[in-house]
Symmetry: D3
Subunit: 140 residues, 6 copies
């Protein structure tokens, strides 16, 4: 088993708030992230897959293929978008980095399998000071 | 003369478009940056000041003071904000990195002078692949 | 389970040596790190916690709270300090990055638990070429 | 158990192709990486070892020793070399990052053991957008 | 005047040597860089252009256009290539980073002008420890 | 004229204070940097030299030679040292990054000239958020 990671980036706007909460409570819990006029980040996404090395190619999976899967299922839906308003798989979810990692995992699991590898983890760097990693339903 | 640079960061949303243009023309010129639902970036700001070294402190300017000036005049106005809608000094300007650098320069010139140094340049990194630098009205 | 990591930094001085050893043996084992006049590093600390996502907030733990815990228990004690002389939890320990990671883990375990998450790992980057990671008493 | 990682770099040339395949098939599978005139990368290698902290030194392993092992067994053989033509342990293997990680692991396992630690993982960053990690024959 | 920089990358193989010199002299002057079997780097290219901000778009030059110019004139010719054997504008030149920066400047000067901006500098990072910058025939 | 930059690093301890000032005034001006027990940084040094390209080698200056000059005159004196107590050329100077850059410039000017190039600038990164650059007595 070997682990291969592909890095991609997307620029997106989001906002953290609960409609049923008062402005004061939203401000208290989410701070500046609850700004009604949105703000944004340069998200960095690391997708790690695992598998045996194909003896003919020396690859776990062809990086071109992995990159294509991530672009098609994730980047095209998130890049230069509003996470709260425009991303189907985030519909009805709080637009936190935690939820983003979990939902990206769900989007990628099947396509990565079909391409002959297994999805290991999804890591999202929101700012240089915080990032989130998700390994699916089994604990690491 | 010695040059001292302070790095600060801000997360902001923006959109590039001209109201008097058709959607098609906005899309053609600004691409995904014209998305009406906004998108965002993790902007990194480098402010460079210059001056003689104070022989008593060994400082051009006290970094705490420089950082305070940048936070008060720039970061508090931009961080977790919408550049098009909420930033007074960007009012009526296209929200490009170029204009942001020029307007940040104008905001900082006087306060930096008052603190005893001279503003040399404002550099803004929008993504890891592009940045803008402004040196004021005199060419470098 | 999802993993959330917070990055913090601290500048500190330290020295590696054993008083009962000769200067020559200290020099042989610890090299330049045994300099009696101290030297220092820009330590980068990554604290990873894990837990379930709170469905109401979309958070594992509020980053503001995690950052506050790390600042109060770790950064205030280490930043701009001498690790050998001034840091209570390093008292009587060799000031290596290994021991620093283990002792920081011990400081953070309870406060992170009280905040509703579980401490997963403490990683310390001493220079760009070496870092240490500790996962507590259970092996990874 | 604590984990210690050492970073090293090497500049090398390589080419991905199978002699028994047509140029078209090589181009299709390996793309620009099949260029017969070679191309190169700035590989970044992270070697992670684990072990108990030696109470006398506060070290898992002396970094000088770990660095010396990596330089002698890996860097001297790979730096400024052609991976396909000049590296004994890559002889007859596809020069992918996956195979490089696996073979580097095999080279380091015994010397790291002799130095009193256990090899945990070998990670190779090929470009800023892709890296590979190998943990030996047991899955993580 | 404002300065806009675009970053691009290319992976290439090269070798430093003079055919008329003995192997010993090549080894003495160029060290490991004279390896006849080539080695390679992950070159990072920063192209800086300058100009007035277009009041209608807020751009010095459209980044898409600048990126297209760099890709067409530089990256397609260098990426996954052998600098000594395959790059027309390096023909007959020593494949140093210095010469690469000068020749890339010559390639870009006219196309950048035609696109309405002025080429300011070409910077090439060969490894994390060394880079070269060229500002054309006028000294900075 | 082309500009070549070499990056080197050093770990050092320092303290900012004036003996003739009260503790309160030192604390007020220098903050945590006045800690009597020292603290430290991972300083990153960028030395830029300029000159014509030697047509025979394609080099401004041989990087090995430049690196040797910097190591001999600067790194050996600063690395794992106490800047206030152990560095001859900082004797009697406030141990700020500004003064460090100016004094490193003075140390390097002559040796770089003798090696056939001209010293252009000395840049020192103290933390990821602040750095200083010095271009000698002529303003940039």
């Amino acid at each position: 088993m070997i682990y291969l990671t592909r890095r991609e980036r997307f620029s997106a706007a989001h906002r953290l708030f609960r409609q049923e909460w008062s402005d004061a409570r939203n401000e208290d819990v989410f701070g500046k992230c609850s700004n009604p006029n949105w703000h944004g980040h340069e998200y960095i996404l690391f997708v790690t897959v695992k598998g045996e090395v194909n003896p003919e190619t020396g690859y776990v999976i062809n990086l071109k293929e992995l990159s294509k899967i991530i672009k098609e299922h994730i980047i095209e839906k998130l890049d230069h978008k509003n996470i709260n308003l425009e991303v189907d798989f985030m519909n009805g979810k709080m637009a936190t980095t935690e939820n983003l990692a979990i939902e990206i995992w769900k989007q990628l699991k099947t396509p990565v399998n079909k391409a002959g590898a297994e999805l290991h983890s999804v890591k999202i760097v929101e700012t240089e000071n915080n990032f989130v990693e998700y390994f699916g339903i089994k604990d690491l």
